[in-house]
Each structure stands twice: as structure tokens, then as C-alpha cells.
């Protein structure tokens, strides 16, 4: 006569359930969706673009302080989808780690190394009971010296993969279905095509046309590998180009 579940604690801390699942990790994924924002990332031939919704819940808020797009170093960007407080602590630690790397080893931390570090930290939270997993999905972008443009996604379970295109947040699955069709034949997008693919994917999945102030766009380009957040004017240009194209 053995106890069926972990004494009921398998839902409260990260121990195994009878089916071999980690409920706390699964709930962390739900927390990412509950934030109500969808993000999309697309990797082109020589650039990477990430796009996310900018929802300012209160008109009295200073819009410039509402952001999910963070530079980690001059060359690495991070788009955090999910709980903003968890995002900020992750960004803080990532910035520290990247600066430490540059100091210790004398060269810039590559995208995949930072992603692995974030994912390994997330794995620790899934195995040790004293800390809960973070409710954040992180998309890391940058230009790798050898491999070119890179887009990595790290989730609360500790998984991380490189992506040609990906999505996170409430409409993640719809966005991925849309992107799978678009990227089916491995198209090699130019910079403009990459940005427009990302923005139009978001518009299509959320079924609304955006104003430039309602989205945030971050890019890295091979010819200028600095991570940049686009200004409202630049976003407007791309939006106009998309609506004229259609």
C-alpha cells in the first residue's frame, strides 16, 4: 500500500509527480502565458529581429519604463516574456555574467554560451526545492563570430534551442504554426524581410494592426552587430511598408 502521490507536495515544489512530471515547471509555463503578451523572433540571413507587444496598463505610467527588451551587452539582447519581476532579476544576473565573461576570457560572450548559462540556472530551480522556477521565457539574440546571426530561446524547464524563428507568450502556438509555414523552405530573409516577417506574424496572430507605440522591436545585423531597439519612427516605416505590401 504505497502512497500514490508525493504526499500532495508534488504541486508545490519541484519533485516528481507519479507520471514523472514536474508540476511546478508546468505551472511556470502557464505563468508565462498568463502575462497576456505574445513575442516573436525571426532569424534572417544576416540579421535577427524580435518583436513583442507593448501593453501599458495605465495611462499614468511612464511608457518608456515599460519594456521587455533588454540589452545584456552591447552585442547581446534579451527579450523576456512573462513575469516582469522575474525578467528583471534574470536580466540583472545575465548582465553580470556576460560582463564577468568578457573580463575573464577577453572576448565577448557568445549567444549560445549565454543561453546555456541561463538554461542551466533555470535547471537548478527545477531540481532544488528552495527556489521556484522563474516565470520567464527568454529569447537571446546576437551575431556569432563564426555562426552568424543566432536566436536562442530558454524556458523555465531549462531547455534551450537555437531557432530559425520562434514565439513565446499567450499566442505562442498560433504564432509557431504561422511561422512554420512561412519558414518552410528555409528562406534567407534580408534585414527588411526579417523585420517585416516578425511584425506581420504578430499582427496576423493577434489579428490587429498595430500602431508604432504598441510594439517593441529589437534587432542585430551582421554588418553592425550592436543590439538596437528600434525607435518609433523606424517601426512606423516598417509598418507602412507592410501595409503597402498587402
Amino acid at each position: 500500500m504505497s502512497r500514490g502521490s508525493g504526499g500532495g507536495y508534488d504541486r508545490h515544489i519541484t519533485i516528481f509527480s507519479p507520471e514523472g512530471r514536474l508540476f511546478q515547471v508546468e505551472y511556470a509555463f502557464k505563468a508565462v502565458k498568463a502575462a497576456g503578451i505574445t513575442s516573436i523572433g525571426v532569424r534572417g540571413k544576416d540579421s535577427v529581429c524580435v518583436v513583442t507587444q507593448k501593453k501599458v496598463p495605465d495611462k499614468l505610467l511612464d511608457q518608456t519604463s515599460v519594456t521587455h527588451l533588454f540589452p545584456i551587452t552591447k552585442f547581446l539582447g534579451l527579450l523576456a516574456t512573462g513575469m516582469t519581476a522575474d525578467a528583471r532579476t534574470l536580466v540583472q544576473q545575465a548582465r553580470n555574467e556576460a560582463a564577468d565573461f568578457r573580463f575573464k576570457y577577453g572576448y565577448e560572450m557568445p549567444v549560445d554560451v549565454l543561453s546555456k548559462w541561463i538554461a542551466d540556472k533555470s535547471q537548478v530551480y527545477t531540481q532544488h526545492a528552495y527556489m521556484r522556477p522563474l516565470g520567464v521565457v527568454a529569447m537571446v539574440l546576437g551575431i556569432d563570430e563564426e555562426k552568424g546571426p543566432q536566436l536562442y530561446k530558454c524556458d523555465p524547464a531549462g531547455h534551450f534551442y537555437g531557432h530559425k524563428a520562434t514565439s513565446a507568450g499567450s499566442k505562442e502556438q498560433e504564432a509557431i504554426n504561422f511561422l512554420e509555414k512561412k519558414m518552410k523552405n528555409d528562406p534567407a530573409f534580408t534585414y527588411e524581410e526579417t523585420v517585416q516577417a516578425a511584425i506581420s506574424a504578430l499582427q496576423s496572430v493577434l489579428q490587429e494592426d498595430f500602431k508604432a507605440t504598441e510594439i517593441e522591436v529589437g534587432v542585430v545585423k551582421a554588418d553592425n552587430p550592436v543590439f538596437r531597439v528600434l525607435s518609433t519612427e523606424e517601426i512606423d516605416e516598417h509598418l507602412t511598408a507592410i501595409s503597402e505590401r498587402d
Binding site: 515544489i13 509527480s17 526545492a129 531549462g158 524563428a165
Partner: protein
Amino acid sequence: MGDSQYSFSLTTFSPSGKLVQIEHALTAVGSGQTSLGIKAANGVVIATEKKLPSILVDETSVQKIQCLTPNIGVVYSGMGPDFRVLVRKSRKQAEQYHRLYKEPIPVTQLVRETAAVMQEFTQSGGVRPFGVSLLVAGYDDNGPQLYQVDPSGSYFSWKASAMGKNVSNAKTFLEKRFEGQISGKNIEIGIIGTDKKFRVLTPAEIDDYLAEVE
């Protein structure tokens, strides 16, 4: 090892004498992607299914078979993030052995130390067991060896073994066709031979072997 806030183990005996957390960990392994290993007279081969969540994932960024030393490789079934932790710890242990004894670590020693880590996490405070089973393939002075290590920390030497989903059908895994074709892009194969150097086959080499088989 163990967290100071949790001074008690989360893996405890049930009234029937079972450690249920370890059993649940084995369930997690059993729902993972299939992997298998075969020991030959002059080498060892390990292979695994490489099924990615979407075609948007860049398959070159994923490597499930990893090198622990130049002559020992490992593959897993179960939770990828847990596997990364074990790979990192094992590599460090192998390096520490080499620093002390100035010779490559024998396969049995490395397996024993990795298994000891996995056992620690079934008894220490505030942690859960690893949700992976490992297949360790190596070639040292004792010849080719293949070991399977389970979440409990127990390990056995095998002539051939499989883990993960469809273990019973695993013998036909390499002949099985699924969703079109097995190709170098959706399986990974690692080999170690008399040269005692473990390496992962490139997709092109896998395709060549598949062409020979057909």
C-alpha cells in the same frame, strides 16, 4: 550537497519500502525519446532519436550525444536539462582524476562517480532525483564498454541496451521508418573504436551508413 533551508530529504520510503520519487523519475525517463547502445567486439555504438519540437528549431544547435573524455561518450533518455548538469559534473570529475593520476580515467571509475552523484540527489536535502538514464560508451585498457546508469544511481554493464519510449521495440529502431525517412538530420550516432577516440558521426556519415544498409 543539499540545501540548508531543507535539511530533510524529499525522497523518502513509502510504507511498502519503495522510494516513490525514484520510481517517478524512471517514469519520466520512460516517456523520453528512445536511445540505445550496442557493444561490439572492437567498439561501441550509441544512438538516439533526435525529435525536435518544431521545424523552426535549428537542429545544429542541439547535440544530445556528448563527449565526456576523448575516449568516453554518453547519451541519455529523459530530461535534457538534467543531462547537461550530469555531463558538466562528469567532465569535471574526469579532469580531476587526470590531474591527480596523470592518466585518462577508466570507464568504470567515471561511471561509478557519475552514479554516485545521481545517488546523492536521491538522499540529500531539498533536491529531487535526476530525470535521466544514461548510456555511457567508452574504450579503455579493458576494451570496449557500455554502461547504463539509472536515476537511482545504480549502474550495470550491458552488451546492448535501450531506454526511453518503446524500449521493447527498440531492437527494430534503426530499421524503423518513421514519418518518411531516417536521415542524418533526425538521428545522432556516436562511436568509439580501437583508436579509443569517441566521436559523433556527422550527418553525412550517417547518411552513408544508411545508404549501405539499404
